[in-house]
Symmetry: C2
Subunit: 393 residues, 2 copies
């Protein structure tokens, strides 16, 4: 008699985005003359850059003739792409071996799948508010999860204290949803904590390309000792607009040894057994995103989004509203004005400024009273939305 994985029954349904959609649509139906602007978008909107398009096309052409056709490739990714990623890290003064780099179809897949190689008896520490995937993937495995409070006091960059415990620790910097970015000194505290507790840090660097402040770390491996205690997940989704094109990568340093076993070898075995690599065509395009021309072009797109973020943050500055994020992140995380709760402010903003955002409590307990605005709409809409926001208050 087949049994299901009963841990799935402990998952909660998330109604965040469906509830946002329901309320926004109800407003639009009742107010057909009003132009509603969505600053809740968590997805890129600019097209892929020319350098990437050119190589995607070259990849398609390669598949059209027998002499250049590619069948099964290495599960870990083609050397040409791993080399491009290695060079990209070298620019951050992080030296990697190619066999420490695993190309994937996106950070979400690897963040979920990495748990395959860990025991189910590990305890898990997750900052709150949080990207829900960290929580749900552990609930599916039946692991015990505890939360770390991110809040206004710690700038949504929580650090461990004497009571902190966790075998598996999730950190996301620049953070989704808060936009907060750990400094090198702060990450050093985490690395030292992990080293002294034999914990692993799962470091989500999906938004690293938004960092413009050179003092802020774009990779956890900029911190000494991190190669002995951290796996880094990254993605081209936000770096190069690949949310619908799908390519990411995971760094599993050879120095990671737990229970006497190299994690790199376990992950290699996991990937060669349960994955067949990313499409050759997509890997061609991904490699182009790391070329000089590709970096120049993708950074222009990011600058466009960053300008939108600065429209948002300068309005909040004028209104005297507390926020974090925005400068080194596409997300702005603000304290709801007049101590409104998240959903009250959602309705208030929708009714009075006809702007849609995301209530912070959708991301966890500590998101209560906070709100997320994003920079992924176009410039004109963002300016218009924030004018209305200012007038509303």
């Amino acid at each position: 008699m087949l049994s299901i994985n009963k841990n799935y029954l402990n998952l909660k349904e998330s109604y965040l985005f469906s509830e946002i959609g329901r309320r926004a649509n109800a407003f639009i139906a009742a107010n057909p003359d009003k132009k509603v602007i969505k600053l809740g978008i968590g997805d890129v909107t600019l097209p892929l850059c020319d350098a990437v398009i050119k190589e995607l096309s070259a990849g398609v052409s390669d598949m059209a003739s027998a002499s250049t056709f590619r069948g099964y490739g290495p599960e870990q990714g083609y050397d040409f792409l791993k080399g491009a990623i290695k060079d990209y890290y070298a620019k951050k003064s992080v030296s990697l071996e190619k066999d420490e780099i695993f190309v994937s179809d996106g950070a979400k897949s690897d963040l979920g799948n990495i748990l395959d190689i860990f025991g189910r008896d590990n305890t898990v520490l997750i900052p709150d508010p949080v990207y829900p995937v960290y929580v749900d993937t552990n609930i599916m495995d039946g692991r015990s999860v505890s939360y770390l409070k991110a809040n206004e006091e710690n700038g949504f960059r929580p650090l461990p204290d004497a009571d902190t415990k966790g075998d598996i620790i999730y950190l996301c910097s620049p953070n989704n949803p808060t936009g907060a970015v750990y400094t090198k000194d702060e990450l050093k505290v985490w690395v030292d904590f992990a080293l002294s507790n034999n914990s692993i840090i799962l470091f989500d660097a999906a938004y690293e390309a938004f960092i413009i402040d050179n003092e802020l770390p774009g990779s956890i491996y900029e911190i000494e000792g991190a190669k002995k205690c951290a796996i880094e997940f990254c993605s081209l989704s936000k770096t190069a607009g690949f949310t619908g094109t799908r390519c990411g990568y995971t760094i599993v340093p050879n120095d990671l040894v737990f229970d006497g076993v190299q994690l790199n070898k376990l992950w290699l075995r996991r990937q060669t057994t349960k994955f067949n690599g990313v499409s050759y065509i997509i890997q061609k395009g991904a490699a182009a995103a790391f070329s000089d021309e590709g970096i120049k072009q993708t950074r222009e797109n990011i600058a466009y989004y960053r300008r939108n973020a600065s429209v948002i943050t300068s309005t909040l500055d004028k209104c005297g509203i507390w926020y974090c994020g925005g400068k080194n992140s596409p997300y702005v995380w603000l304290k709801c004005p007049n101590n409104m709760d998240s959903w009250t402010f959602f309705d208030y903003l929708l009714n009075n400024a006809n702007v849609v955002g995301t209530p912070g409590e959708g991301f966890g307990e500590n998101g209560k009273g906070f709100f997320r605005l994003t920079s992924f709409n176009n410039y004109e809409n963002t300016v218009e939305a924030m004018k209305r926001f200012e007038n509303m208050l």
Copy 2:
């Protein structure tokens, strides 16, 4: 203190293909004048068909401008592709709902990942010889695996008997590595067994497009009752030459209910949590493979491989060697002549005919004394190889 998943320590390394490579390379080095022909290839060699290339290119173009750009898509796949797959099944008289179809980056991923939704206490039944992924993915979860003997007597199409037990049952038809194809009556025996034992059948149909005998089932859902006991995995890898392009699909019928839970909903939750869908570009190409033009063109490629298979089988017929597969499969599975064991015959064939194949014992105990030849080399080489094979005996 982080613990690893200790089940990984129970995995055996597979030396099959590295040992084949080592012996072949040693022979080539010692005999530089000999032309060695490889009939061990398990990968397609013909380029993608025009219909697919055209739509892959259109997909790339869509990503180049803002008005047609695609960001995050549905994790389960775009409607246009699920619709094409639904229509493809309708031609086999199998009626599916779109929400029963899950698009993936390949059958290997889903065959591994599907185990997430099942308890670790289930027992597993796997035919031997076998595609090693079925075994290793279960060892990683610590499940108990028993084997079902496929052999000459049952035509490498084993059926359950009074002693057969298994909560999770793997069937692959047309089979890799043996090329054997279950008849409808035989599959009916399996479906009835699963229904009466509350077991699930994981049906690997990756080679279904090679079936030309209309009486043979290309989907387990051609069998009455299968929607209550079977998940079907399929891939465009062999159907349309997508081994390096990466697209597959998994059918999880709404009628599958175990422990009072719809498996479809569990798998949906798994995929929306740990997967972000297949690249839009690749899905465009995949849909083209199911168009009338696409089916016509991909079937021409399959006919080319099938002609190679018939060159192999007609030689074996002449030599009076027992085999299965070949007609409805790219694989031919033969009994080693003169009761040689697999590796002895490998060396004999390499030394005397300069042909490389795959020793059957690499696929399990019951592969001992058998040998796999494949149809993925080109026609001229296949003819030459089989001439040498005939002369050798």
